[in-house]
């Protein structure tokens, strides 16, 4: 293993693209819509998922526009309700949850384990169609006024009193859940059964561990939201309900069932990004990751512990105080695996040969912002604090630090790291670094003020607020504009690169990993011959150079 000591730079020779690869393996719409190649399916998902990212982003723009002034002067309260609801639904169920697994996971998982494809290629394609089918219901609902219940669909408003298309959105989410389950199922079987010879569990890249842990959550949690949505739909359709107090039902049962999935869902959203960071940090420190086993175990621990904490979303809903105390204690516990990762990434950076390439900028941004989001999470796990800040902008800031500062940064970092592999092209370094910076600045200007607003008492899901909150709100809205601009720039240069970008070599970053040993883009079958793995990942350091005297 001889890592190229000269990473991608503007002066290196232009690489020759491989003659045959997965992008030119077949032309025409049928070769794409009926493909079984996991790499093409990843591209299909890239398009679908980003459509919903754009739609969710549009909702966000409108929300921040309204919140620039204290009065509700842009939208009626009813319309505002629909805006934040659709923003949440589309971002969570159709962007963040599928995001990295369906795009980067689909593309990279087989390559990283030296396999020709996932275990069930046809199910993989089916999952994309199911995703779009479910998305169509939500899109239809969006065009017909959306839903106003909040993405949490609490009963009895969602079952009995809302006059919006709750059923359509519920059906859409139910259907898309199957897409998620199929992806998770595929990943679990693939990692268990299709690793290349010599690739033991503890030689797997940490991205694979994170995909595996994410898949465990998907498979165990998604069915519960499925049954919950089904019961919600049944109550709405037939007017009898498991959650209806009129017949002795308990609205809190809905919340228990809803959050049993939706809390682990946030780990579905963050674990993949953590996996990406675990790949980027050693690569751009030219150093073996510190504490490989700790990171691997903590990924699985996060998946397991994530299922034990859901009722911290219900502290003020009317649940038993004793149960609340139990969940508060468990929620403290769940911070530990995440913290372990942050320590390990930081330790990896120490005395590493750090290069400031774009993926690394995103990874570093992730580490800082995720830490802030995570620490505020521990604050929220504290029962006494949560009672004060629940349903305020403090919560919103907390989860956006994790979801945007964390998950989306990881997503963008991953896209930038593996783009040369996926497309065979290089993107312009100046613009990519600039947009990373713009996103980082824009993000903080948008969301940091929201911590303060929330702590001062500004409630969430309101389109009006007391005038003394305006300065911070205007700051937040201004930041959102910057953030939005930051998101648009990569779209431009990624598309530009597909036509005009310089061709990438197999290993443009000069890093270690199975995916960098095949061409950019890879051939349809991923490798010329099945690789045989003889060592762990991240084998950097002088003893691993081919010309090293001492082994």
């Amino acid at each position: 293993m001889n890592p190229n000591p000269h990473p991608m730079n503007a002066d290196s020779e232009a690489a020759e693209p491989p003659r045959h690869h997965y992008l030119n393996a077949g032309y025409g719409i049928r070769s794409w819509l009926l493909t079984k190649d996991h790499k093409r399916i990843a591209i299909l998902y890239l398009v679908s998922v980003n459509v919903f990212f754009a739609l969710g982003g549009l909702m966000a723009v409108l929300i921040r526009l309204e919140l620039a002034t204290p009065q509700g002067d842009l939208f009626q309260p009813d319309v505002y309700n629909r805006l934040f609801t659709m923003h949440g639904i589309m971002m969570i169920f159709f962007f963040l949850i599928p995001g990295i697994p369906a795009i980067l996971g689909n593309f990279l998982l087989p390559i990283m384990i030296g396999a020709k494809d996932l275990a069930f290629p046809k199910l993989n394609l089916l999952s994309w169609y199911i995703f779009n089918f479910g998305g169509a219901f939500v899109f239809w609902a969006l065009l017909h006024g959306g839903v106003d219940t909040g993405w949490t669909f609490y009963t009895p408003f969602s079952t009995t009193f809302s006059n919006t298309h709750v059923l359509a959105v519920g059906v859409g989410i139910f259907i898309t859940g199957f897409s998620s389950i199929l992806t998770g199922l595929n990943f679990i079987v693939t990692v268990h059964r299709m690793r290349a010879p010599g690739l033991t569990w503890f030689r797997l890249p940490l991205f694979v561990w994170s995909m595996y842990a994410t898949s465990l959550i998907i498979v165990l949690g998604t069915p519960v939201i499925a049954i919950t949505v089904l019961l919600l739909a049944a109550e709405r359709l037939f007017h009898v309900g498991i959650f209806d107090p009129a017949i002795g039902g308990d609205p809190l049962l809905f919340q228990h069932l809803f959050w049993f999935y939706s809390h682990p869902a946030v780990y579905i959203m963050i674990l993949p990004s953590m996996g990406v960071v675990s790949e980027i940090v050693p690569a751009f420190s030219r150093k073996k990751i510190f504490g490989y086993r700790f990171i691997a175990y903590s990924s699985v621990a996060l998946a397991v512990l994530g299922f034990l904490v859901w009722a911290h979303h219900m502290f003020v809903a009317g649940m038993s105080v004793y149960a609340a105390a139990v969940f508060s204690a468990l929620s403290m516990l769940v911070a530990v695996p995440s913290a372990i990762k942050v320590f390990n990434w930081t330790a990896t950076l120490y005395k590493g040969s750090v290069s400031w390439d774009t993926p690394m900028l995103y990874a570093l941004g992730f580490i800082g912002l995720f830490t802030m989001g995570g620490l505020t999470g521990v604050m929220l796990a504290t029962l006494g604090i949560d009672v004060h800040v629940h349903d305020t902008y403090f919560i919103i800031a907390h989860f956006h630090y994790i979801m945007v500062g964390g998950a989306i940064m990881g997503y963008l970092g991953g896209l930038h790291y593996w783009w040369p592999k996926i497309s065979g092209r290089l993107y312009p370094r100046f613009w990519s670094k600039l947009s990373a910076l713009v996103i980082f600045v824009g993000f903080n200007v948008t969301f940091f003020p929201q911590f303060i607003l929330g702590y001062m008492g500004m409630p969430r899901r309101y389109h009006t607020y007391p005038p003394e909150f305006q300065v911070l709100n205007v700051m937040s809205s201004a930041g959102a504009t910057i953030l939005g601009a930051g998101y648009v720039i990569p779209i431009v240069y990624f598309i530009w690169s597909m036509r005009y970008g310089r061709h990438a070599s197999s290993n443009p970053w000069g890093v270690v990993g199975l995916e960098w040993e095949t061409t950019s883009p890879p051939p349809t079958e991923n490798f010329e011959t099945t690789p045989v793995v003889t060592h762990g990942p991240y084998e950097y350091g002088p003893e691993h150079r081919e010309d090293a005297v001492v082994r």
């Binding site: 069930f120 389950i181 049954i227 002795g248 308990d250």
Partner: protein, 218 residues
């Protein structure tokens, strides 16, 4: 390729063993999701039975215990025929495979037939929740009594839906078996269908006492 061609090895697998083990793990993972899917209904049942015990007793007593027991027996019998069908496929015996698959389908249909009779009975006796005129004899609170039937219909309905899907799968398997597609090398599809069918049987094994056998004494 003749219509009798045995199912081949997929291009991304290295051996029939790997293909079979992947299919098995995949099916078991799917059943894991099904366990959690029904699990939501089970926790709802537990919560409400704990909250309103008398209503559950009255509701359970309104169900026909004979039909319920017979149905349980039928489903267990169908699990036997399903297991024998898979066994025949393992031994590449197409005719016996087809026979046992058809037997399973017939038994499944019988189960659904009896269920239909029971549902009709509920309709006739005004035990449909949410309908005007709902009345459950022996229940202290008529409003809460509806909760028993919400759960009864939700749980048995979801179960029946799974059986209908299972029957469809069995039909497909029958056609495949008749065409000689199963062999010792590759009988993954029927093995997976068998796992699904047994799972649906297990759900009923729990539903039966929870719905039919509450407070029958005294």
């Amino acid at each position: 390729m003749s219509a009798n061609a045995r199912a081949p090895l997929a291009h991304h697998f290295d051996s029939f063993d790997q293909q079979r083990e992947s299919a098995s793990l995949g099916m078991w993972t799917f059943l894991l999701t099904e366990m959690m899917f029904f699990g939501g209904l089970f926790i709802a049942y537990i919560v409400y039975r704990w909250s309103y015990p008398e209503v559950f007793i009255a509701g359970s007593r309104s169900l026909d215990i004979v039909l319920g027991t017979v149905n349980t027996g039928i489903l267990i019998f169908s699990s036997l025929t399903m297991a024998l069908a898979v066994r025949s496929a393992q031994l590449s015996r197409s005719r016996t495979t087809v026979f046992f698959l058809l037997a399973t389908i017939v038994l499944g249909a019988a189960f659904l037939g009896i269920k239909t009779v029971e549902y009709h009975d509920k309709f006739v006796h005004h035990h449909l929740p949410g309908q005007p005129g709902f009345h459950l004899a022996g229940a202290p609170d008529q409003a809460h009594a509806q909760m028993f039937f919400v759960l009864y219909f939700a749980m048995t309905g979801l179960h029946a839906l799974h059986m209908i899907i299972g029957a469809g799968l069995l039909g497909v398997m029958t056609v495949m078996a008749a065409r000689g597609r199963f062999s010792a090398d590759n009988h993954n599809a029927i093995e997976c269908t068998g796992l699904y069918w047994h799972f649906v049987d297990i759900v009923w094994i729990f539903l039966f006492p929870l719905l039919y056998l509450v407070g029958r004494h005294g």
